[in-house]
Amino acid sequence: MEAASTVSGSFRDPSGRVYVNDRHVYRSVMPRAVDEFEFVRSTGLLDKLIERGHVISESIVDPGVLGNSGEGACYVLEHPRLPFISYPYEWPFPALKAAALLQLDVHLEALEHGVTLSDASAYNIQFRGPRPVFIDSLSFRRYRDGEFWIGHRQFCEQFVNPLLLRSLSGVPHNSWYRGALEGISAQELRPLLRWSQKLSWNVLMHVVMQARFQTQVSARSDAELRIKNRKLSLIAFQQMLRGLRRWISKLKPANTGKTVWAGYAGDNSYRSEEARSKQKFITEFTRTLRPSMLWDIGCNSGDYSKTALDAGAKFVVGFDFDQGALDLAFSRAVEEKLNFLPLFLDAANQSPSQGWAQSERMGLMKRADAEGVLALALVHHLVIGKNIPLHEVVDWLVGMAPEGVIEFVQKSDPMVQTLLRLREDIFDDYCEESFVQSLERKADIVRSVTISSSKRRLFWYRRRLSNTFPTT
């Protein structure tokens, strides 16, 4: 077994740190957190939440498993390793909403056991398929009578305000959240809201009033005087969580009309015969490869992700930049209980390594450990839509996974002609011959098949061993 290394994003809480190796995640419990750790476990709360699948499972193991890194730790916990780590700025609206509801459910259950949560970070939630799971078991601590909800501001910034941005203004949270890793503050959101939107009790309280109170905090700590000796009763605390839960469960994206791709599956230049040929090819590819992790770049509403799952892929992470398609894909994953997680991605501007010391949150390519990749009707968008050289797009895709299926769309195809309609054709080397040449520099072509009358073609590649992707 490979030695466990520290997870760089786990430095904030001195109660413990997180380590990973190839199969497991370990969490050290330092002396300062032992009392709380033992109390929380004595309440039976975690057993209940783990059984429900709301919190990731854990077992106590010998601290020696961490070698020197485990020095000083009173306990070491072992968690199963999740197949993929994603961040709230990659989640589509319904995923962020599901994560917010889980956070509230976990907190409400905790309060029933005399336990509370020390924070409300969205980064403490991960996804198994479309199902959120709470992963930071050291956030639980003893509830003290009358205490305030310390994580309230963070909950608003990391869940409520980003959801409101889309729900009230129709603007997706992803780009802003990616720029401001801690979320969107009430002071930032308030000026964007219309007067009539501020009349909602919840918006008035959690955005308008909170922003106002925050702004009026004065240097002479008049605010501290105001809250001195004040308490939040347990009932008021629970009412606040339940009120937020009721409100968030009703939030929907604002009606922003049909987005670019949401109607794509039924409204593009595909013909159903073409779709069947694609499905057949992907089924054959997946059955042969049997990937435990497959990435579907440009997944749209998840048609071919589903094909791959049906053919034996264990987990599919789908990526797309269209919010309408992602909303559909996520709902579909929930309804059909698919092990499928659709995420927001602008392929020409992927999530970078960022946060403290540029290592707190990992860039997309640092998390790339897919065994297979699908890139259907994607290449022409990057080459013609974004001016990225053809061979670079091919290298990027081939570097992502050792095997995959890439679709090449001819220049004469109606979709490519649409992209070229209002611009000069500067893409002299955009042709199948160049594509095949680029592909064969790195990989062998296992099979290829023409799937449409416009000569769209699927290529199943297998990367040659010497070509791995640089992860920097």
Binding site: W149, C156, M205, F213, Q214, T215, Q216, V217, L232
Partner: protein, 80 residues
């Protein structure tokens, strides 16, 4: 006890109109805590309002005693 939450809530509401903006890097969580103390005040007032309503109901019930209350077979009621 009734006066205190009311006073704090009114104070906070009035404070809304007399706020002077200051620096954002000072104590970033205080806005949330003041809001919660206000919500706690509202919850306390709601609870007191509920108690008051119960008393009103009890008063009218005593004016017009129902059959159940005068039932000699009912459990004896012990005042705490």
């Amino acid at each position: 006890m009734v006066i205190r939450p009311l006073k704090i809530t009114l104070g906070v509401l009035l404070g809304l109109f007399y706020a002077a903006p200051v620096y954002a890097y000072l104590d970033p969580g205080t806005g949330s805590i003041i809001l919660q103390s206000m919500l706690a005040g509202i919850a306390a007032m709601a609870a007191l309002g509920g108690m008051f309503w119960q008393r009103v109901k009890a008063f009218f019930s005593s004016l017009f005693p129902s059959k159940k209350l005068s039932d000699p077979n009912s459990e004896p009621h012990i005042d705490e």
